[in-house]
């Protein structure tokens, strides 16, 4: 029996890649090729597929992978917005503890331009890669916001005066500091999560539970 019990696992490239591969190694998986070959996407013999973190829930929901690792930020962003609805139809099985970072609202150092805008214009402009999380946060805190969705370097938006603040993920705060931005509010703490396809969770119950048991025995996976 292979270390993954014949399950297919969606592994995120990027910040969570190393933590995930370390975990797979701890499970006894031969991850040498996975670490070495960063062009290849499909590793059939070890049951791993690699992709952008934000695509992981998509593949797992469709059943193209039985399990996946992705950030809580991704899961929350893909959550349906209206009350009563929930996010993608995936099961969230475990907090893997690594990839810890914080979703924050930040603005330029000095007097907070967002406060000034809210007071005088009734609305604050916020740039983010996470429009839903940002919108929900403003709504929950009773403020009107105008969300500007950007795809890269969010820090640029307030520096050019396009927006008053940003909502973004930060691990160490270095990038924010370098751009003269300071954290005004911490919105939520995000870590890597293990998610599962609902049908695979039933039809491959024994394999999945065996894997979960192994994971729980790995100290790193319990850090969260």
């Amino acid at each position: 029996m292979s270390p993954t019990h014949g399950l297919t696992i969606a592994v995120p490239r990027g910040a969570l890649f190393k933590g995930t591969v370390d975990l797979l190694t701890a499970l006894g998986l031969d991850t040498e090729e996975l670490r070495a070959n960063d062009r290849k996407l499909l590793f059939e013999d070890i049951g791993v597929i690699t992709m952008r973190p934000s695509d992981v829930p998509t593949y797992v929901e469709a059943g193209a992978a039985d399990l996946g690792v992705t950030g809580k930020d991704v899961l929350l962003e893909q959550l349906a917005y209206a009350p009563n609805e929930h996010g993608r139809d995936v099961y969230e099985l475990m907090d893997l503890g690594f990839g810890r970072c914080t979703m924050v609202l930040a603005s330029k150092a000095g007097p907070d331009p967002a406060v000034e805008s809210l007071r005088r214009l009734g609305v604050m402009r916020v740039a983010t890669k996470y429009p839903r999380i940002a919108e929900r946060h403003l709504e929950e805190t009773g403020r009107q916001g105008e969300i500007v969705e950007v795809k890269g370097s969010v820090e640029l938006a307030p520096l050019t005066g396009m927006v008053d603040a940003i909502v973004d993920l930060t691990a160490t705060g270095t990038t924010l500091r370098e751009n003269n931005l300071i954290v005004r509010e911490e919105i939520l703490l995000c870590t890597a999560r293990l998610i599962a396809n609902p049908v695979a969770h039933k039809l491959k119950a024994a394999q999945m539970d065996a894997l979960l048991q192994q994971l729980r025995a790995i100290p790193a996976a319990n850090a969260g």
Binding site: G63, E85, R193, L203
Partner: protein
């Protein structure tokens, strides 16, 4: 030239219609063999009538005003309209009553998720037959119908909607936190469930049970060592299981955490899974209190299959390209090659 149709709706052209018709004809014959009479009801109903049922997430999503200002809603399932029919047109009939239907239902969708606003459901309702016999009959009709259309690798997951609430009340979970726990379970967010249990200040053993029991799923061995608060629900499942013929029983897997996103279920609930499809093909359960809301209190059970999902699963099995293929490691390996 493009004349769009709303997202989540589809035109069905002759090739597909032919295949879908073959499935529904076979299902119709199977329902008929079990003496379920087919009925039609209007797609539009008074909103106030449909609102008598607790639909939770599956509540009607589309409303219109008629010429006199009354609010009409497009039905979101067939169980509620059939409850209305039973209470009005069969008010004095001797139960049990057996109905089947093939009908389009209308649901709200989340954007860009391939969800359908208009879905074709095929199902049955068995009114006036209590657990466990009624539940066993519904499961039998379900499996006979799926066998008849030639679906090979399906499994029926069975749980009980009353299990988790019973667990919470017997472990003295405080009333205000119960809803949050149930919501986390409905989303199958076990991380949040664990956090909420921790925040609720429950003692270790109770929290452990509330987190562990809903994750238990598997064969009949699950029914033997249930914790005390779950015994009633689990005994109910075992009684149903004991009534099933071998061909049906072998399809059943037990899932102590199975909860459906419709509010009116009271007892046994089930869902149909096939390795060729990443989402359930259909489901159902007992709704012993729904008929009472329409004025004729009768126990009832039913199921609905999503015909398009069933079609996809059949096609997937036929091509052997199901995404999740197989329960075993060996065949999972084959599926990837």
């Amino acid at each position: 030239m493009i004349h769009p149709i709303p997202s989540g709706t589809r035109d069905v052209l002759p090739q597909e219609t032919g295949e879908v018709r073959a499935i529904t004809d076979t299902l119709r014959a199977a329902f008929d063999r079990h003496r379920y009479g087919e009925i039609y009801t209007p797609a539009l109903e008074y909103e106030s009538v449909l609102a008598r049922a607790d639909m939770a997430e599956a509540q009607p999503a589309y409303r219109v005003f008629d010429e006199s200002g009354a609010v009409l809603a497009l039905r979101s399932d067939m169980t509620v309209p059939i409850a209305r029919v039973v209470a009005t047109r069969y008010a004095a009939s001797e139960p049990p009553l057996r109905f089947c239907y093939f009908a389009h239902c209308y649901r709200g969708v989340r954007p860009q998720r391939g969800q359908l606003r208009e879905l074709l459901q095929a199902g049955i309702e068995l009114i006036g037959s209590p657990a466990p016999e009624g539940t066993a009959e519904a499961l039998t009709v379900l499996c006979h119908s799926l066998d008849a259309v030639g679906l090979k690798d399906y499994r029926v997951g069975m749980g009980d909607a009353s299990l988790f609430p019973a667990l919470m009340s017997s472990l003295q979970v405080r009333e205000p936190v119960r809803d949050g726990l149930l919501q986390a379970l409905v989303r199958r967010d076990f991380v949040e469930l664990g956090q909420r249990l921790h925040d609720a200040g429950l003692d270790g053993e109770a929290a452990e049970l509330l987190l562990d029991v809903p994750q238990r799923r598997g064969g009949a061995e699950l029914l033997t060592d249930a914790p005390a608060p779950a015994v009633e629900a689990v005994t109910g499942m075992r009684r149903v299981y004991e009534l099933l013929e071998a061909g049906v029983a072998e399809r059943v897997i037990f899932d102590l955490g199975l909860v459906r996103n419709i509010g009116y279920y009271t007892g046994a609930v089930f869902e149909v899974y096939d390795p060729a499809l990443g989402a359930p093909i259909g489901g159902g359960g007992r709704y012993d209190e729904l008929l009472g809301r329409f004025g004729r209190s009768l126990p009832a059970v039913g199921f609905a299959l999503d015909v398009d999902q069933l079609h996809q699963a059949l096609a997937g099995e036929e091509r052997g390209t199901g995404l999740l293929l197989a329960g075993s490691a060996e065949s999972a390996g084959e599926a990837r090659t």
